[in-house]
Symmetry: C3
Subunit: 348 residues, 3 copies
């Protein structure tokens, strides 16, 4: 695949400056060759503009002119996605329905579905048009998967679940494992059967080896367009709104409700029964419980306003041993001042 | 399935108040319909008692009378478990032993075992009566699995392991991967072969995509009735006692010993070679090393008494920047006081 | 397998003291029987030397003479690895290429490769001599796996990846899932196709259920001899150097560069676009962003020098509530001193 920069600019509605040229791929500033397009968003990488061998750089206004050829974009990441899409090869190498798969006779699988070897599709499951089930994936009984979904190798979708259209499950993701629900009894922890389900709305992506538990009763829900990274844990009866970003290794306790457009950074923990308002952002490794106001920016464990955390944990905490010494010194000085003053009183 | 509330009350030994009625299921207060039973334990959800459409609510003494019909329980979660059990359908849709499974000729599989397609059972493995091996699960050579266990899809039980009865492995759980053991040498990290095993006692449950490593030598042990949540890491030679609760994303370093009835909340990290006494409780995201006394309630990283942590990190830390200012002010004032006093001395 | 201690000493070049004797295995000090060898490295376990029933103990100079027989080693872990290796049985119970596997006709699989049932090998994949692919493992199209690798059950190696020789993937490990890359648009998060790959160099081990993402463009790289524990997340375009130790549940954000010989302890989080210099060590549960100098020892979230963290979070933080009281007392005393002084002024 080759494309003229002028043709690319026209296709994507971008402004092109420089001599026209045919590119054959996309790469980083550091690695791109003269026949590849690169891009710049993060100012941290701006110095690489000087040295890059890239034939052309896709970037925003501020960097135009620093290289021979530029494509000017008001949303570099979006246009990068569109360019890369032109060059991307679809993953996989299998077509049709493998004779080495097991499809229950009561399942309904659209004829356009790709079913790799060693896939299991349970009774009364339904798989929509254009969906691809990679090797080793599991679709439980009565589960409905929409159209144009990708279920990568060894991902598991247990029984009774509902997935919308364009859902992507990365390898090893597990949907619908039992929630963690036990009653304390004299004889030990008694399992509360988990009879709810999981609903995953359209355009959701769930990362490698993440685990989304089925509800105890009712539904665990992942809202439209939400993107969940790898190794994330979502407890039973959690509701996540639309267009959220849930970064790697986040853990969300049972029955917690998360609004729309929320960002949870890496390794954040959210307790059971919490509520996080629309548009809130929680910094990496933070611990959330209770209610978080819409639009808040929080960090720390337990969370506080992100600005406060930066000062308190980033600036002050390392100086805390010194502060203890300063306070001790103050105490001594004050004591000595009072003694001398007492002494003074004697003579007054 | 339908059941009269009076019959349900009698079956479970509960007190029923209100007009008799037939229920068809169980649901949350928010979602239950008039023909469903609901329940209330967490006072946070008490306001929903006013609005619920549930036909009956299972609850403790304090809430009786707030809805038309109640089932009175002294252990709501336990009785909820028993009610839900009446309505629960068993997961899965396969019976017998699939011809698409691989069972080594030297394995012994009880005739009542369910073996889905694409299951691997190794040489000299033994699978007890009533156990279900879901699609894609793996049972290594010489591994013994007890009776009435459930091994969900793509769970892995490596060779030489022992699982008791009523053990549940959620999808993707891995038992008996190699422990992380390397000797430092001039040529790099040299692998110490991990030749121990894992023993999982009766009634243990292990969550989706959790990983329990085999011992270097000897045994990694999970005690009877212990419940491990999703994405938990248990290092080699760890010993966990009976009836513990290990919540999502906890990590436990090698050779650590954990007593009975211990609770480790979400994302807790426990270092290598630590010891945690019976009944200890460790708050979410905490970091434990060394010895923890039985019955302790700890939090923080590194841990301190939970009450201290709540004050120190929850109340004081956010005010730390302000404290630095207060101390600086004190220092200035004291300095000025001393100067003026020195000045004063001059005139005295 | 039995071996005379004198023969073992000669084989490994160790000094043996005590009466010669035949050992049949290796075990911990606590569990070893009279016909087994044990070892001692961690001084914490030294008291067990008094009580051990072990026939011989492999240890360093300081403990020689505390038991009847000793093997003297200057690198106990290394020699332990070599001894255990003598007694270790290789895991697995299958030979040859299973007829229940799927190998694409365009794949090239060395004739010495072991392929278990339910393995998928994609088009143009290449599997080197002596490699073992356990049940349920997946090798995507165009992926090259070197010689003498072990891919344990249900591990996934997506398409287009390169693995060197002697690479070990523990069960459920996922290599080459899509990186987490989305462009923000008015319509929501737009997926940036992830068209880069993953390169894993020789002698790397990757733990159970860990996830190493493919690069957006270019390569995610794991350097020679690096050992990654369970449930670790490595983001797209990360570069990890040689001989690093990455302990359980560490998460590494996209495009981060990590030098050689770096140690990241359990549950550490590293932000996107960070850089960690050679030989740096980061304590458990710490949070790293920006640049870390070579050889640093850091801890805390955000990180500070490890010694400072121990004092600040381990010693001072628990006393912070008390410090607030001390400062308040100082303020009152100073105020009272100033008042009395003002009062004093009045009379002067």
């Amino acid at each position: 695949m080759k494309i003229l920069l002028s043709a690319l600019a026209e296709k994507l509605g971008l402004e092109f400056s420089g001599e026209d040229f045919e590119i054959v791929g996309v790469n980083t500033l550091e690695k791109a060759g003269p026949d590849e397009l690169s891009f710049l968003v993060n100012p941290k990488y701006a110095p690489q503009m000087e040295k890059t061998r890239a034939g052309c750089v896709l970037t925003s206004g501020s960097y135009v002119g620093k290289t021979e050829r530029t494509l000017l974009s008001s949303n570099v990441y979006m246009d990068l996605a569109r360019v890369v899409d032109l060059f991307a090869e679809v993953q996989g190498c299998f077509e049709g329905v493998s004779e080495l798969a097991y499809i229950h006779p009561d399942a309904t699988v659209d004829e356009s579905v790709t079913v790799y070897p060693f896939v299991f599709v349970g009774a009364q499951a339904h798989i929509g048009a254009g969906t691809v089930l990679f090797s080793g994936s599991y679709v439980g009984e009565k589960t409905v998967i929409g159209c144009d979904c990708i279920v990568y190798p060894n991902a598991v979708v247990m029984g009774g679940l509902e997935l919308g259209d364009n859902v992507i499950l990365q390898p090893g993701a597990v949907l619908g494992g039992d929630g963690y629900g036990f009653a304390q009894t004299a004889a030990g922890h008694m399992k509360i059967p988990q009879i709810g389900n999981v609903v995953v709305e359209d355009n959701v992506e769930i990362g490698s080896n993440s685990a989304i538990d089925r509800a105890a009763l009712d539904t665990t829900r992942i809202g439209m367009g939400t993107k969940i990274d790898n190794l994330v844990q979502v407890g039973h009866n959690v509701e996540i709104g639309q267009h959220c970003l849930v970064i790697g290794q986040v853990g969300i306790g049972g029955s917690t409700k998360i609004g729309n457009g929320v960002v949870l950074a890496g390794q954040v923990g959210v307790a059971d029964n919490a509520q996080i308002g629309d548009g809130a952002m929680v910094g990496a490794q933070s611990g959330v419980s209770g209610n978080v106001e819409p639009g808040s920016k929080l960090a720390g464990s337990p969370v506080m306003p992100a600005g406060t955390f930066l000062k308190a944990a980033g600036v002050c905490l390392p100086k805390l041993p010194e502060l203890f010494k300063r306070v001790k010194k103050l105490e001594k000085e004050l004591e000595s001042l009072r003694s001398s003053r007492s002494g003074g009183d004697f003579y007054e």
